[in-house]
């Protein structure tokens, strides 16, 4: 019997498996392999002949490399290759937006953990020991480790010409008017890690044509391929990528990790090379969420209506550009939240430092800003004496409003409604006189029996752009094939869209079933023999690759009906394809698919684009920068032991508009997981960096929420179809990560009665010790 009295999770969307079409909670096609342990993740790959590759990394945040001596390492028995920058045949540079990051450092290292040399050996331990015998002579240089100092005139330059990556200037509505009520704050957000569980891994296999086949866990095969080709000096037809099983991503696999390194070692040794990071190396092997410092000011009427907002956001980009410019773009254009504000002045900056490089993570620039604008909205509510839900509803965007870049919100913007929903969800019961210790802050550590424990409730509402913005050519490619196999119609769907756990392959099958009426849909392995699908990021794959698959199915259907029209001597316009049948205008069966196709297959490849977005004006930040906006609201309930500073989240409830839920169960799963990551940032997750050195690269010291930390979550899925998107979908993955953290932080502030202007909130911030 379940004895604990907590709220159970609820969802308003029934999870039916149905026929596995759009709108059904179809099961994952890889599920059985995953529960039996047979699914091949990148770190499981194995080849008879393979050797192991390891990376030697810089111990210094900033240094000049005087000399590298590999002779001793080469003498270690079992070692097959030791490589340095001199062995990179093509450009020794890669990067998502700017190729500014060396494959292997040559003259300088700019962050702790930067790759310097590679070793291949017959056993991973041999390779690690040999790597320790590569002698690198460093001249340690002064490092910039405080982003606020990075633009000072005397600061050491991480790159020439200087440390500014991007300044986004946004002005709207003229000078800020004088406001009767003014509130302001400074806020700081620490560095979060994606902490996907499957470590960075890949297997590079040298091919007979002199090229290479790379099996790797990633988010975007084609952007990897482009960078690998440049580094290897090889054309794309020689560098073939296949997606290996991905154990989560969350942005941390957008940049290259083992990719070029494994290829270099494989080409040198002539053997398949496996590389797989351990957890510590993983903390150095991918970019993190940008830490940010922010200053915000709101001016409002006495009733709480906003008159103006001013914001300054500073993102620490670390040592290389990665996607910092785009993160600044999001922070700047979306960083005031889903509110109507007549006059706006925003300056968002991204800078280089000698800290770990930062880049993409779920919520991408909106997460940091949301902590600030939501904390300030609570301040404003208190200053004018309005309820914290009501103040957000008063100022919340509605469909048809202009956002701060002057773009019309041209589909649903249910800010007020989402807040209403979460505020009316049942609250968890009050703590009884004899609470179960395990449900209290500190839990089984037995730190309190309920004395000194105060409850708080917090709200947040946020929004996020879906897809790539600011004029990026954001497309996806899908190839769909229909044929009769063993007397049954079978569709095969082939895209390069990375399945990272979110369920894209399930969605691809559902769309094929819906459009073609077939039951059996085979998902072709994800590889570079089909065109780019774009990145699995920005909550975009269901929208963009979903759109491409739908369009490819439509093309297949049209081609089949054309053939049928020829066979039946009728106009294609009066025919319909329904699974294995070709039907006439009133549904009468005219022919079987088998009669029309015979042994042939019909195959179509389509490149699909969403509506274009546009660059913003460099002076004013105005423009139609984004293609779609996704809204979510959270309510958090926390118990805080105010004496020890320990927090227990008791409930974390949410409402989110998903446009149309293609797979309701998967949508709810995304919302649960995204909410957990936001809560993690609010309360526990931070990579501690001092003087450029990472202090906690392990799951012992970098904490992510466990099942004991997570509360039950009530999830309400709202579906206002977006008329501009395929099936009306709206991106789902990121919004919950953005609104959950600020709601948790607000709840802790409500319980403690302190400003708490930094996350993650630590016990000492609460106790003031």
């Amino acid at each position: 019997m379940s004895t604990d009295a907590g709220t159970r999770s609820t969802t308003t969307t029934p999870g039916r498996v149905g026929y596995g079409r759009v709108g059904d909670s179809a099961r994952r096609p890889d599920g059985t392999l995953k529960v039996t342990g047979e699914f091949a993740y990148a770190s499981d790959l194995w080849h008879d002949e393979m050797v192991w590759g390891v990376t030697l990394r810089s111990p210094h945040p900033h240094a000049r490399i005087r000399r590298i001596d590999i002779t001793e390492a080469l003498t270690v028995p079992g070692v097959t290759a030791v490589l340095t920058a001199d062995d990179v045949p093509g450009d020794n540079a890669f990067g998502l937006e700017h190729a500014d990051q060396p494959v292997l450092a040559s003259e300088f290292v700019r962050y702790e953990g930067e790759p310097v040399a590679l070793v291949a050996a017959d056993h991973p331990e041999t390779a690690r020991r040999a790597a320790k015998r590569v002698r690198v002579d460093y001249e340690v240089l002064p490092a910039v480790t405080d982003a606020r100092r990075a633009m000072d005139p005397g600061a050491p330059a991480v790159h020439r010409p200087g440390n500014l990556v991007r300044h986004l200037r946004l002005r709207r509505g003229g000078e800020a008017p004088t406001a009767p009520v003014v509130v302001s704050l400074d806020f700081e957000v620490g560095m979060q890690d994606q902490a996907f569980l499957g470590p960075e891994s890949g297997l590079a296999v040298p091919a007979e044509d002199g090229g290479i086949d790379l099996y790797v866990a990633t988010q975007w095969l084609h952007v990897d391929q482009r960078q690998i080709c440049l580094a290897l000096g090889m054309p794309p037809e020689k560098v073939r990528l296949t997606l290996a099983g991905v154990g989560g991503a969350f942005g941390g696999r957008e940049d290259l990790s083992v990719h070029v390194h494994a290829c270099l070692l494989a080409l040198r040794t002539g053997k398949p090379v496996k590389m797989s990071y351990g957890r510590e190396e993983s903390f150095f092997g991918h970019v993190h969420r940008h830490p940010a410092t922010m200053t915000y000011e709101f001016g409002a009427q006495r009733d709480g209506s906003l008159l103006y907002a001013k914001a300054r956001l500073l993102f620490d980009g670390g040592a290389y550009a990665s996607s910092t410019a785009a993160v600044v773009g999001n922070g700047g254009t979306l960083g005031l939240g889903p509110y109507r504000i007549p006059s706006v002045a925003v300056d968002a900056y991204g800078v280089f430092t000698n800290n770990p490089p930062c880049g993409a993570m779920r919520g991408f620039g909106c997460v940091q800003a949301a902590f600030a604008h939501e904390a300030l909205m609570d301040e404003l509510a208190d200053a004018v004496g309005v309820d914290r839900v009501a103040i957000r509803q008063l100022n919340g965007m509605r469909e048809g409003d202009l956002n701060i870049t002057g773009q019309v919100i041209d589909s649903a913007a249910p800010v007020g409604e989402l807040l209403q929903i979460v505020s009316e969800l049942p609250l968890p019961p009050e703590r009884g006189a004899h609470p179960d210790l395990r449900s209290l802050p500190g839990a089984v550590n037995n730190t309190t029996h309920g004395e000194g424990v105060v409850r708080g409730i917090g709200y947040a509402v946020t929004y996020k752009n879906v897809g790539f913005s600011e004029g990026f050519d954001d497309y996806s490619t899908a190839r769909v094939r229909l044929e009769m196999t063993g007397g049954e119609a079978v569709a095969t769907v082939h895209t390069a869209g990375a399945e990272v756990g979110q369920g894209l392959i399930t969605v691809e099958q559902q769309i094929c079933r819906t459009e073609l009426g077939v039951e059996r849909v085979v998902v072709h392995p994800k590889d570079t023999t089909v065109g780019s699908a774009g990145s699995t990021s920005a909550s975009r794959q269901t929208y963009v690759t979903g759109g491409a698959v739908k369009a490819a199915c439509e093309a297949v259907r049209a081609a089949v009906l054309d053939r049928a029209a020829g066979v039946l001597r009728r106009s294609a316009a009066e025919l319909r394809l329904d699974g294995e049948k070709i039907a006439g205008p009133s549904g009468e069966l005219l022919a079987g698919l088998a009669d029309v196709l015979g042994d042939d297959a019909v195959e179509e490849t389509v490149e699909w684009r969403h509506r274009p977005t546009h660059a913003i004006d460099p002076e004013t930040g105005q423009g139609e920068a984004h293609v779609q906006f996704a809204f979510s609201a959270h309510r958090a309930v926390v118990d805080v032991d105010v004496e020890l500073g320990l927090v227990k989240v008791v409930a974390l409830d949410t409402a989110q508009d998903v446009g149309t839920a293609i797979n309701p169960d998967a949508v709810v799963g995304q919302i649960h997981g995204g909410s957990a990551q936001g809560m993690g940032l609010a309360l526990m997750e931070e990579i501690i960096v001092t003087d450029g050195h990472v202090r906690n690269p392990s799951f012992t010291d970098y904490l992510i929420p466990t099942i004991l930390d997570m509360p039950p979550m009530q999830v309400t899925v709202v579906e206002y179809a977006d008329p501009h998107a395929p099936y009306g979908v709206r991106g789902v993955g990121e919004p919950p990560t953005i609104s959950s953290g600020p709601a948790v932080a607000a709840a802790v502030r409500a319980a403690v009665g302190k400003p708490l202007r930094r996350v993650p909130i630590r016990p000492e911030h609460i106790t003031g010790t």
Binding site: T36, G37, F39, W46, V668
Partner: protein, 156 residues
């Protein structure tokens, strides 16, 4: 060194094992059983959970030599042929699997819990699975899966 161990009911012999190798490494790299996962190799995530003589352990913390002469059961040994174990079935049915990297460890840990406690409360489930990290699901559907498996088990 040579190690002899019974894995999923079959006796296996492994030669040339290095002193520093963990049971996890031997299973994954020498015995072709990559089901137990390697998310941290520091005893912090539970993704490598296997049974050693019937007790769930983190295989990354067990030196390979310690498994000599003992019984190991991995996630690969839970299904009976094509028939999934009810815990595995429940994970699929409730949508508790996203990327799935945590799944093998959680399936073993949940399997162990339900052998010990037939109808665990939510707090008991949370306590039993507290050593298994999942980054994708927020654990809600994992709780659903364990509740469902417990219900099914109770109904026989």
């Amino acid at each position: 060194m040579r190690i002899t161990t019974t894995v999923n009911g079959t006796e296996r012999e492994v030669d040339d094992v290095w002193a520093g190798e963990s049971l996890l490494y031997v299973l994954r790299e020498r015995l072709g059983l990559p089901g137990a996962k390697n998310a941290c190799e520091q005893g912090e995530c539970g993704s490598c959970t296997v049974y050693l003589d019937g007790e769930p352990v983190c295989a990354c913390l067990v030196a390979a030599g310690q498994a000599n002469g003992r019984q190991v059961t991995t996630v690969e040994g839970l299904a009976e042929g094509e028939r999934l174990h009810p815990v595995q079935e429940a994970f699929l049915e409730t949508g508790a699997v996203q990327c799935g990297f945590c799944t093998p460890g959680l399936v073993v840990a949940a399997h162990d819990l339900l052998q010990r406690v037939s109808r665990p409360s939510d707090l008991e489930i949370r306590e039993a699975l507290a050593g298994n990290l999942c980054r994708c699901t927020g654990y809600e559907k994992i709780l659903d899966a364990v509740r469902l498996a417990a219900d099914r088990q109770a109904q026989g």
